[in-house]
């Protein structure tokens, strides 16, 4: 009996910490409509700062706490709102997601740079001392946490209902225009919300650190727990969020206590937030189609067919030359770049054309790789089966969120990736624990591509084919509908399109492309493991795709090369590994507002550098017959 009580207390404690973090998330989301994926990452950085103040510099705990919660965190939150996320709430959801993912990656990079990996201990408050209640030992730290959650809830309630700025915060949820009309200052309100929100993220992180450790990733992923809790109140209601957090904490604690510690169920503990989230989402009522179109969406120009074929042939020639001249370790990099480029092409379809964001594209690649390796059928049909299974998994992820809109879909992919990571990929029946699942090289029509050079070349052939098919789709009816859906889902619905199943289909197709790439990758590497497809590596993937241009094939290929070179760059400059990561993150923060990315700048550069045409031709100015230009100035909400 005693154990039930002690696990309940443990659950209440974690639940209380989640509640604190989650209420910060709700506060920032409702006032600015920007979902801060970096909420956990900010809490992580602040926990490190707190460790730095209290342990490394030896400040008294209370002083460190006051400095972090009262100065550093609010200032950071305010600055982020002011300089990074301002105005994002009015633009497409995908842009806000990319920018905050950039922030997340930037935070991790920054933390690893400033506080390189080492063993760090953050003792609980009062060094873990506590008192005996009947047969259970309650630490002071736990008690303080639960009390703090109550205090935070009370203060937020008072702030929102009894103060002028709180009323303004609630008003700006419903209508920022209205707020401005009545003389409110939306910017000040938003800045205040982010300052408080970041402080709450910090407090949540600091309270949990003694339990889960001072880890870059675990603390960052707290955003999933906070999100799961907040979803119970549809990211709006604070009381429901508190209830969700407490429920989640207790469930998780009981999972530790009563579920077997081996086999499939062993992963449940760490996957609990994701499972909880799926349960909440399935129970969430239907969202209405958004009326009021997203303005200012721009697409990169589609190259003419001649250009497509020319570029494809050029790429193949280049890789053929490399295949005969490069040593194997460099060739592996070329093959990896081709894989990444294919996965990025799947993002071009989903994000660039379709406007949806996936935060787990590597997980789908992992599914493809897993199926390809397990199938032991290294032929084209084996590869196709791998892609189909990945597509089916993609559909399964999208179906529960059928009824919800973009943001929820994206966040659910993150939860799904986490779930796969913890429960499936690392399991014995999947990749196994020591990264050593065997996969054979592909053979097509009896021809085996057993040499690495030949294999990399055939991968490039697939990359080029995939790109050509994608461009053909974009040019045809599907491409038109993708854009139509992005511009106005409501109009598509009233014209008779089942927007929900269309989205599921899109998601499945994109996941299938990633799975195809994963299968090819498994064949190239020969041995693969769960660590090749970690969910968090999907984030830099998305960022580099956007930075290089997620609306064009060129961007995907450049992004693939960039993502391959990233770890190379890091391992050759170990002292700056974190900084390099941070540059990617903050680079995406800076460039994320323009999804056409660097690739499009290359195109426009090419066009301006083209010799000034004679006046006659310019007045005629007929675009090449099938060169579709679709550019207008990019004004993605600034």
């Amino acid at each position: 009996m005693g154990s039930v009580v002690s696990f309940t207390i443990l659950g209440l404690f974690t639940g209380a910490a989640y509640a604190i973090a989650a209420s910060g998330l709700v506060l920032t989301y409702t006032t600015t409509r920007v979902f801060n994926i970096a909420h956990g990452a900010l809490g992580m950085v602040m926990s490190f700062v707190f460790w730095d103040f209290s342990q490394r510099q030896g400040m008294p705990v209370w002083l460190a706490l006051v400095l972090v919660l009262g100065v550093v965190a609010p200032a950071t939150g305010w600055a982020i709102q002011r300089f990074v996320t301002r105005g994002l709430g009015d633009g497409p959801v995908s842009v806000a997601l990319v920018v905050t993912v950039g922030l997340l990656v930037g935070c991790i990079g920054l933390a690893t740079q400033v506080w390189p990996p080492a063993t760090r201990v953050l003792p609980p408050f009062f060094n873990g001392s506590g008192f005996q209640v009947a047969s259970t030992y309650v630490t002071a730290h736990q008690l303080i946490t639960v009390l703090l959650a109550g205090v935070v809830a009370l203060l937020l309630y008072l702030l929102l209902t009894k103060t002028q700025i709180g009323t303004a915060m609630r008003a700006s949820v419903d209508n920022p225009e209205l707020l401005r009309l009545f003389g409110g200052k939306p910017d000040r309100v938003a800045g205040m919300a982010w300052a408080i929100g970041t402080s709450l993220a910090a407090l949540g992180g600091i309270l949990l650190t003694p339990v889960i450790g001072l880890s870059y990733y675990d603390l960052t992923l707290l955003v999933i727990n906070a999100y799961a809790a907040a979803m119970l109140g549809r990211l709006r209601s604070l009381p429901l969020t508190l209830a969700g957090a407490m429920g989640l904490g207790i469930l998780q604690s009981f999972a530790v206590a009563y579920l077997p510690s081996d086999g499939l169920l062993s992963g449940i503990r760490s996957a609990m937030p994701a499972l909880f989230l799926f349960a909440v989402i399935v129970l969430t009522p239907q969202a209405q189609l958004r009326i009021g179109q997203v303005k200012g969406v721009v697409s990169a120009p589609l190259p003419s067919r001649a250009k497509q074929l020319g570029a494809g042939a050029g790429l193949l020639t280049l890789v053929a030359l490399l295949a005969t001249s490069l040593p194997d370790d460099a060739l592996l990099l070329v093959g990896t770049a081709a894989t990444y480029a294919m996965v990025m092409l799947s993002l071009v379809l989903l994000t660039g054309y379709g406007g949806h964001v996936s935060l787990a594209q590597f997980t789908f690649a992992g599914v493809g790789a897993l199926v390809y390796a397990k199938l032991g059928e290294p032929t084209l049909s084996g590869l196709v089966v791998a892609a189909l299974v990945a597509a089916a998994v993609g559909a399964i992820v999208a179906v529960p969120v059928l009824r919800l809109t973009g943001l929820y879909l994206a966040l659910s992919t993150l939860a799904f990736g986490l779930l796969m990571d913890k429960m499936i990929f690392q399991a014995e029946f999947a990749f196994g624990t020591n990264n050593s699942l065997q996969a054979e090289r592909l053979s097509i029509l009896g021809t085996s591509f057993s040499s690495l050079g030949g294999y990399v070349l055939i991968m490039t052939v697939f990359l080029v084919l995939m790109a050509l098919v994608l461009l053909a789709l974009r040019r045809g009816a599907l491409g038109r509908l993708l854009i139509a859906m992005r511009d106005s889902p409501a109009a598509c619905g009233t014209l008779g399109l089942d927007t929900r199943w269309f989205r599921v289909g899109l998601f499945a197709l994109s996941a299938g492309m990633a799975g195809f790439a994963g299968g090819l990758f498994a064949g190239m590497r020969g041995t693969i493991g769960a660590s090749d497809f970690q969910v968090l590596s999907s984030l830099p993937l998305l960022l580099l795709a956007v930075v290089f241009g997620v609306t064009s094939v060129t961007g995907a290929v450049l992004g693939g090369v960039g993502l391959t070179l990233l770890p190379v760059l890091q391992s050759s400059n170990p002292a700056f590994a974190g900084l390099i990561f941070a540059v990617v993150g903050f680079g995406a923060v800076a460039l994320g507002r323009d999804p056409n990315g660097l690739a499009n700048r290359l195109f426009t550069l090419g066009r301006t550098l083209r010799p000034r045409l004679p006046a006659a031709r310019r007045t005629a100015d007929v675009p090449e017959p099938d060169e579709v230009t679709e550019e207008v100035p990019a004004h993605v909400a600034s």
């Binding site: 009326i291 053909a472 045809g476 009816a477 106005s488 008779g496």
Partner: protein, 250 residues
């Protein structure tokens, strides 16, 4: 049995009752006007009819069936088409491609991934011609004037050959001669047997093309009848007089 029956519909937004026990109907082959001052709840009614918003209570019947619980796209497939007061054109597509997308949706999704599927240029051309948009075919839909974009939304609807057209302020942004042509188009469509329900502030247009008019005020239907009947109705005049800036009943 009317083509469209709105039956005792209530819509509440928090404390605001936007539609308050409204009941009205629209017939096949006739142009029905839905008028009322700003904020009367006209657009909200359209959202309920087309399925974009669930009514708090009440029911919507279409073509002899209760469609209250049916999704947006199913209603469209059964023959409802609508345009939007706040434009919902596919801004980054050309005008012709807007219509082409509507044709594609109407023909169903099987085969949309087939790049060589015929694009039905003739059908698109005919639709653009019908609403008088041929000159704009190649323009981007977010670069054309508002009035033209409304006609584009109409052309898009017509691609699905709907039995009922819901038009939300279709003539705002059109000049006088364009409005006249638009009125003739509406009469033609009604003559073909389509039912048209139109929200409109241009009273001259409403009075000249509508067969029947329903007047909404504070979410309730305060009058229904022929144009001349509505023109002389004191309750309608009062509702409009309470409004500072929205035209007068002609």
């Amino acid at each position: 049995m009317s083509l469209l029956e709105v039956d005792d519909v209530v819509v509440r937004f928090g404390g605001v009752t936007a539609v308050d026990h409204a009941s009205f109907a629209a017939e096949q082959g006739r142009v029905t006007g839905l008028i009322g001052p700003n904020g009367a709840g006209k657009t909200t009614c359209f959202d309920v009819i087309s399925g974009l918003r669930r009514p708090t209570t009440g029911r919507v019947g279409f073509d002899g069936r209760d469609v209250t619980a049916i999704s947006v796209h199913r209603r469209a497939r059964r023959g409802m088409g609508r345009t939007f007061q706040r434009l919902e054109a596919f801004g980054s597509l050309s005008v012709a491609d807007n219509v082409r997308a509507a044709v594609d949706i109407h023909r169903g999704l099987t085969g949309i991934a087939v790049p060589w599927r015929r694009s039905r240029t003739a059908q698109v051309g005919a639709l653009l011609d019908r609403v008088g948009l041929s000159a704009y075919a190649a323009d981007r839909a977010d670069a054309i004037p508002t009035g033209i974009a409304r006609l584009l939304e109409l052309a898009r609807c017509l691609a699905a050959d709907p039995a009922l057209l819901l038009l939300d302020e279709p003539s705002s942004g059109l000049n006088e001669s364009e409005t006249e042509a638009f009125g003739r188009l509406l009469r033609d469509l009604a003559a073909e047997g389509k039912g048209i329900l139109m929200v409109e502030h241009d009273m001259d247009l409403v009075m000249s093309v509508c067969d029947e008019i329903h007047v909404l005020d504070f979410g309730s239907v305060i009058a229904s009848g022929t144009p001349s009947h509505i023109r002389d109705n004191p309750a309608v005049q009062r509702a409009y007089l309470g409004q500072a800036d929205t035209g007068q009943v002609a």
